[in-house]
């Protein structure tokens, strides 16, 4: 073993990722790469109507088809359910409807599974699905969420209405008066289109109940391997220590794979029922139609300001849909918490309704509450226009300055350690906001429509309930190599790399000798999983605590063995040495060997071994990062198409562990947001039929659609160990608002406005025609 590289100052460096060599050479291991002896393959029979009463399901022909082992319906599997199918954190939230995995009374959305074929090969399973005859009496679906509360039809007949949840923070008289009598105000209804997570790897699972060993082995594409174990145990009735879940490499999740959905639970129950390994790999149509839905919401926002442009208050009336079987429901509460975001806004009223519809079920998607930024930032622009102010000027008058922190949000929560004013100004400088305004006038005179838009926001990381804590287990082996075991479920975030950076720097061992293990419940400590942008602030803090703890032990052992004071021991590059006397040194390997094998060489009374498990828990309900997105666009006045000219992000995620990883998260999120604002649109017709079921209709951004993203960094450390903050979701939160405002800034030149996304050519042309262009 070589101990060449110095290991200090790794936190903050753009070191290459540990994940990359295997992923670049085709040696990653994703769930579809898993093959188990005698493994069977599953395919689902799914409803092709939005709502209907099941009269009968005829499976005889399918069961007799070549290669078929079993055709399972709700009659077979629903009675096996030993516990609720909801994801663990949402158990207490009163999840909807009957707890059943396969539809047996009604089908409730296009894609609702009502039977599953298990066959020797996937092709045979898919062929047999075609032979299943579903006799279904179609019913009037609840297809439009905006009218779902008025509908006489019920998505779940046992419920009084289609309301899945809601909240009213009442409009008090003071705010009502303010909104009515303030010198300036604006009221608009903004619509956010339904767009989806779309990980490039679809969902998939191999579930293997071995009745001989009485144990479950599960390989799955997930963000939360430990919760897959918990849910498996709950729905089958086995105990958690009979279940081992491994996730391997995962091809993206963005929230879609945070909670184990019905589909995977059906596979688990089928394996339990049949006693053999069953694999299911979702196809792309299933992923678009039946995996999870997201966004699809609208809000009416009224905002008012005084004569000087001080914002006085906001009223928000919001509605969103959660589909038929939401795994986590609406995120509107979070939106309400952070609605006033980066501004001083003393009064807020926020009412929201979440409704069931006969559409695919909602799940979290990257910044699930981002409607708050999307509509707030557009409302601020509306107010600025009504005042005759530049949108950046109104923001400057209201943005929270550092000396105004901590700021008590109207919802009663304290906001601190953020830098909205700094990121606003940094982004404005980067994009040369004033210069752009001058150029915009020139270009308009020459007949071009160009615009600039701002998306300024605070990004909360929830640290409530199971999200407050994370473990990190570090073990230095007798040869001095270091293993780190995490309960996380990295699926692109580079956690193997960033963890090794923290460990290397804080223990004092070389980066190359640190190996990070995650995604295997057999070896890693329990944690909820990767999501909510918590890997930096909470997992990072746990890793730092554990690393420092281990370093102390190394120092103690070295001091004892070198007969020096612990204060004089330095640990770096895998060597513990007496400061100023590099010849008096022990390698980590020597120290570690003594900790396991030469116990007499340890300080008296010291516990043998060189490992530690630390759990970090924060007492703060939320941690905050913040950013400002600014972009410039050109709108083609005849075709209505939008081209992004520049896209700038000024981000404050506290201390950066690896700026390349940070920028990768920003870029990926921003491009998803750009996609949602301009291209992506999952459309249902009035009968609840999805119209965008392939990549030919559901348009993801390609390399030709995206601008070069320019990054600026502001660093306000968090108060957590390490000072890291979350950065996984923000890109997707800020970008749609910035794009919406930029498009409307260009359209404003001719008096046009679009309030409904996506900002498609057709919609823009319509808006231009409405003002006679």
């Amino acid at each position: 073993m070589t101990f060449a590289a110095a290991s200090s100052r790794l936190v903050g460096s753009r070191i290459n990722r540990k994940e990359d060599p295997r992923l670049l050479t085709g040696r990653g291991r994703y769930v579809d790469d898993v093959v188990v002896p005698d493994m069977l393959n599953a395919a689902f029979a799914r409803s092709d109507i939005a709502r209907g009463r099941i009269v009968s399901i005829e499976t005889t022909a399918a069961a007799a088809a070549p290669g078929v082992v079993a055709v399972l319906t709700g009659t077979d599997l629903n009675p096996l359910l030993a516990g609720p199918i909801a994801a663990t954190p949402t158990l207490g939230m009163g999840s909807p409807g009957p707890h059943k995995v396969l539809a047996d009374d009604e089908v409730r959305y296009v894609g609702d599974p009502y039977a599953m074929v298990v066959a020797r090969s996937r092709a045979e399973a898919e062929d047999a699905v075609e032979l299943i005859e579903l006799d279904v009496e179609s019913l009037v679906p609840v297809a439009d969420y905006t009218t779902a509360l008025l509908s006489d039809e019920r998505v779940h007949p046992q419920l009084e209405d289609n309301r899945a949840g809601g909240m009213v923070q009442p409009l008090d008289d003071e705010l009502r008066t303010l909104l009515e009598s303030a010198p300036y105000s604006a009221t608009d209804t903004f619509v956010q289109n339904r767009y989806l997570a779309v990980p490039m790897e679809t969902r998939g699972i191999v579930a293997w109940w071995d009745p001989g060993r009485m144990s479950f082995d599960i390989w799955v594409s997930t963000q939360s391997p430990h919760d897959v174990r918990t849910v498996t145990a709950r729905v089958t009735g086995v105990s958690e220590n009979q279940v081992r879940v491994q996730m391997g490499d995962v091809g993206g999740g963005f929230g879609q794979k945070a909670y184990l959905a019905r589909d995977e639970q059906i596979v688990i129950l089928a394996s339990y029922h049949l006693g053999c390994p069953v694999k299911w790999i979702e196809d792309r149509r299933e992923n678009l139609v039946a995996a999870t839905s997201s966004r699809a919401e609208r809000a009416t926002v009224s905002i008012a300001a005084d004569q000087l442009g001080n914002i006085l208050g906001v009223r928000v009336d919001h509605i969103d849909e959660v589909g038929a079987y939401p795994m986590a429901g609406s995120a509107a509460m979070m939106g309400a918490v952070i609605f006033t975001g980066p501004y001083r806004i003393p009064k807020l009223s926020f009412s929201t309704d979440s409704v069931y519809t006969n559409t695919c079920s909602r799940a979290p998607y990257r910044g699930p509450w981002q409607i708050e930024t999307y509509v707030r930032e557009q409302a601020v622009d509306s107010l600025a226009r009504n005042m005759g102010l530049d949108p950046i000027e109104l923001r400057r008058r209201n943005v929270l300055q550092r000396d105004q922190l901590p700021y008590l949000l109207p919802i009663g929560l304290s906001l601190d350690h953020v830098s909205p004013a700094e990121t606003l100004e940094q982004a404005a400088a980067m994009i040369d906001y004033d210069g752009f305004r001058a150029w915009q006038r020139q270009e308009f005179a020459a007949g071009r429509l160009v615009g600039v838009g701002i998306g300024l926001y605070i990004e909360p990381q929830s640290a409530m309930g199971p999200y407050a804590a994370e473990p990190a287990h570090i073990r230095i082996q007798p040869d001095g190599s270091t293993d780190v075991y995490l309960g996380s479920g990295s699926h692109g975030q580079g956690i193997e790399t960033t963890t090794a950076q923290i460990v290397s720097e804080n223990v004092g061992v070389p980066f190359d000798t640190v190996k990070v293990h995650q995604g295997d419940t057999g070896t890693t400590p329990y944690a909820f999983g990767t999501g909510g942008s918590r890997s930096g602030p909470i997992l990072g803090a746990a890793i730092q605590l554990a690393a420092r703890d281990l370093r102390s032990k190394i120092v103690e052992i070295a001091a004892h063995q070198l007969e020096a004071s612990p204060d004089d021991i330095e640990v770096t590059g895998g060597v513990a040495a007496v400061r100023g006397t590099p010849t008096r040194a022990r390698t980590i390997g020597e120290i570690s060997r003594s900790a396991y094998l030469d116990l007499g060489a340890l300080p008296p009374g010291m516990e043998p071994g060189l490992e530690t498990l630390k759990r970090y828990k924060t007492d703060m309900p939320f941690l905050f990062s913040n950013a400002c997105h600014m972009c410039t666009v050109e709108v083609d006045g005849s075709t209505g198409s939008v081209r992004i000219l520049r896209f700038v992000v000024s981000e404050d995620c506290g201390v950066m562990i690896n700026p390349s990883v940070v920028e990768g998260q920003i870029a990926g999120g921003a491009v998803q947001g750009i996609g949602g604002a301009l291209l992506e649109d999952f459309i249902y017709d009035a009968d609840g039929n999805p119209l965008t079921t392939t990549f030919l209709d559901y348009l993801l951004p390609t390399a030709s659609d995206v601008p070069q993203i320019e990054y600026g960094h502001v660093e306000t450390p968090a108060t957590t160990p390490g000072g890291f903050k979350g950065v996984g979701e923000g890109g997707a939160i800020g970008a749609p608002a910035a794009v919406a405002n930029a498009v409307n800034d260009a359209l404003h030149l001719v008096g046009a406005r679009v309030r409904e996304a996506p900002f498609s050519p057709a919609r823009i042309v319509e808006a231009l025609e409405a003002v006679g262009r």
């Binding site: 085709g26 990653g28 990980p199 490039m200 792309r284 990549f695």
Partner: protein, 148 residues
């Protein structure tokens, strides 16, 4: 057919795609399936040196073909090809699922056009979908290999 220089003889069902053949019969699971309808490019392999979508080709049609997969692009000692190294150096991947398709496509593209313009790069990459990177690191990697 020869796959990564190794002759392969097999009888295959007529509906078996090249992607399935590579993944299931050759054990070469680096070729990924992101859509199975010819749009995402994750399944891209080299067929007689040109980039093709292995989800759209039937294995049975390719009797005397030379196929190179992602596994065949790195050196035998495991060291990365210049394109692979550039992806690592420029953070051109996150989850890695789209990556084999991009690396194969870029390898074919740069061998036919070693000095592309920005527009040509964007155009060449637009046949492959990535949901993680926003294409930023991928474009930077291609420019780096092209010496720009």
């Amino acid at each position: 057919m020869a796959v990564n220089g190794i002759p392969r003889t097999a009888s295959v069902e007529d509906r078996r795609t090249l992607a399935e053949f590579l993944r299931e019969q050759c054990g070469l699971t680096g070729t990924h399936l992101g859509c199975e309808h010819g749009v995402c490019g994750a399944c891209t392999v080299l067929l007689d040196g040109g980039a093709v979508r292995s989800c759209l080709l039937f294995a049975a049609q390719l009797q005397d073909a030379e196929v190179t997969t992602i596994e065949g692009l790195s050196a035998e000692d495991g060291s990365l090809s210049p394109v692979q190294q550039a992806f690592a150096d420029h953070h051109g991947l996150q989850c890695g699922f789209c990556t084999p398709g991009f690396v194969v496509s870029v390898t074919a593209f740069l061998s036919s056009n070693p000095a592309p313009t920005d527009g040509e790069i964007a155009h060449a990459l637009s046949g492959n979908l990535c949901r993680c990177t926003g294409y930023q690191g991928i474009i930077a990697a291609v420019k780096a290999v092209a010496g720009r």
